[in-house]
Symmetry: C2
Subunit: 350 residues, 2 copies
């Protein structure tokens, strides 16, 4: 969060578009068998054989999805890739390729883009995806990142949002609410920094939740785990907007209801303690927080023995007939209707 | 170009993100056999069998790539799709699917987005491509459109930029320079409109070139024609930046030189007359104008009888050994080095 006051600044106009693309993309390696031809032509060429191809795309806009005053560009590049890989994983598919397009205003020097691409390169390498194309252009204000991801899955093995059945178990990976509380901590530090620019933030108490916000991971490992356990979820979605919003998606698209148990929602101790510090109810955060990129799935009761006791998967409720509705069963054993209060990009407009 | 002063304006915040996506995407039809599952899940599912898949992506930014004071939103939607389909065609592939992401500031009401999507829908229908996904979000200023296109091509039939050989013929489809001169006319009218907002522009003399600017077409028909003629170009690229810039791409990536004949460059009479009116050299426009989205290709001498006399294909030069360099042979039979002065997005920054 402390800027180098004299970083090297090479204006983008010094390079021109083609040299810039060449400069930024030269570190991208090709490792996927399905990549026939990568960056450098009108389009990339892919070859998927007998498998099915999944594709997903996301647009990240400065001032709406990220704030560069506390998000390092390298982390932003990493996160922009993760957001898309997470969607591929949520189809029960393995990510294979991405394209990355950016628009930048001339307030960004070359070194800033190098940082951004360093994060993209790290993400691509770690998740074994090939960067096969993109577009680099200018914007009149701020930074815009558009990523499209492709993945492959065995025929008929993709998991949709629409396959949940009554009595299926509702399961979430890892724990949730961390990314949102990390954001609260970062925003508080930003306010402190505005008042006293020489303040050095001590974030050591919040390392887990700050990392959940700045460096989320797509749960490709959970897809591998599910394959190993021989569990094919009946429906699946990634948690980008918040648990309640994602549960509603699954219920609506599957024509089912749900009973979600408050006491079962997995929360990291740092989420609980930070919620206490900020005087916020941790269940509210878990339901509406968003940006955790964990996987939310429904699993047939038959498969329960396979996932029972697995530290990566927590049963948090079960699906019901549609006419039973969508409910949270509270600690006090009361039933409250689940409503979506998830982060809504279109209400965040300035 | 004349606005309705009292159009209906529904604020986007009235709908929310999910309802907006539903509203904007409900007219997209699914016609491609390779589309297994379209919009409405974390990712779309595609299945390409034995063919190869090509993918291309472009980012269009308001104030950089388009000016809404003279580009109707419907045309913009159409053009955003064409720019990408053109890249797919330039691979000798047939476009099959697109994803469309947009970011909009709250200055745009719902009706504006409906116009934009009407153009996207028209383009998708006319070119028989399925819209299979996208992202809809807000921006802090202006409109940003990101389109990713997929296409398919028989195995080993894709045409790269790198396959040109010395003695191959340099061939361009249709005619060039129109889109750039159309832009000059529109920009002149905008200046007139600023001085006198009640002026009614008479564009009847410029219909062809204005349409080339506002409603370009991806030359999918040329790909079909080439298949019918049994001509597989040795290299190909679409003309987005200008003839000289694209020729340089082909030469550099194929390690060849070129002799381009000024007298052979196909120009529409309206381009010639408008160049005279604006007192600009028409060859300069053809070389540097851009945005025509015609196809530039190299064809083996053996295939010359197949393309000879075809009104859609004009031989404008031939490739040479690399050490001969890249030259324009002028009307006066002088040789001038070809240099790229194409439209450069990164120098256009405000």
């Amino acid at each position: 969060m402390i800027e180098d006051k004299n970083p090297k600044r090479t204006p983008l106009s010094e390079l021109g578009e083609f040299k810039l693309i060449e400069h930024l993309t030269k570190h991208f390696e090709i490792n996927q068998k399905s990549t026939v031809k990568s960056i450098g032509d009108d389009a990339a060429i892919l070859s998927f054989g007998d498998k099915e191809t999944v594709i997903s795309t996301d647009l990240l806009v400065e001032g709406v999805h990220f704030d560069l005053s506390y998000v390092p560009l390298k982390h932003l590049g990493y996160k922009a890739v993760m957001v898309n890989l997470s969607d591929i994983c949520a189809m029960n598919a393995m990510p294979t390729q991405i394209t990355v397009s950016i628009a930048v205003s001339n307030r960004f020097p070359l070194e800033a883009l190098e940082e951004l691409y360093a994060g993209i390169t790290t993400a691509a390498k770690l998740y074994n995806v090939d960067v096969v194309g993109g577009d680099t252009t200018s914007s009149t204000s701020g930074l815009i990142i558009s990523v499209t991801a492709l993945g492959e899955v065995e025929k008929d093995n993709a998991v949709l949002r629409s396959g949940a059945k009554p009595n299926d178990l509702l399961v979430v990976s890892c724990d949730i609410g961390g990314a949102y509380m990390g954001l609260q901590v970062l925003e508080r530090e930003k306010e402190v920094f505005k008042v006293n620019p020489n303040s050095q933030p001590d974030l050591s108490m919040y390392t887990y939740i700050v990392e959940r916000q700045l460096k989320p991971e797509a749960r490709k490992d959970i897809i591998t785990l599910l394959t190993q356990l021989e569990v094919r979820p009946t429906s699946m979605i990634d948690i980008s907007d918040g648990l309640s919003s994602e549960i509603i998606h699954l219920c609506k698209q599957s024509n089912v209801g749900v009973d979600l148990y408050e006491t079962k929602i997995p929360l990291d101790p740092q989420v609980i303690s930070t919620c206490e510090e900020f005087n916020i109810d941790s269940t509210t955060i878990a339901l509406n927080g968003g940006e955790d990129y964990e996987l939310l799935m429904t699993v047939s009761q038959e498969d329960y023995p396979k996932i029972k006791g697995n530290p990566n998967l927590t049963v948090i409720g079960y699906m019901t007939e549609k006419d039973k509705g969508m409910h949270l069963v509270t600690r006090a054993d009361e039933k409250i209707a689940i409503i979506a209060k998830g982060w809504n990009a279109l209400n965040n407009q300035s």
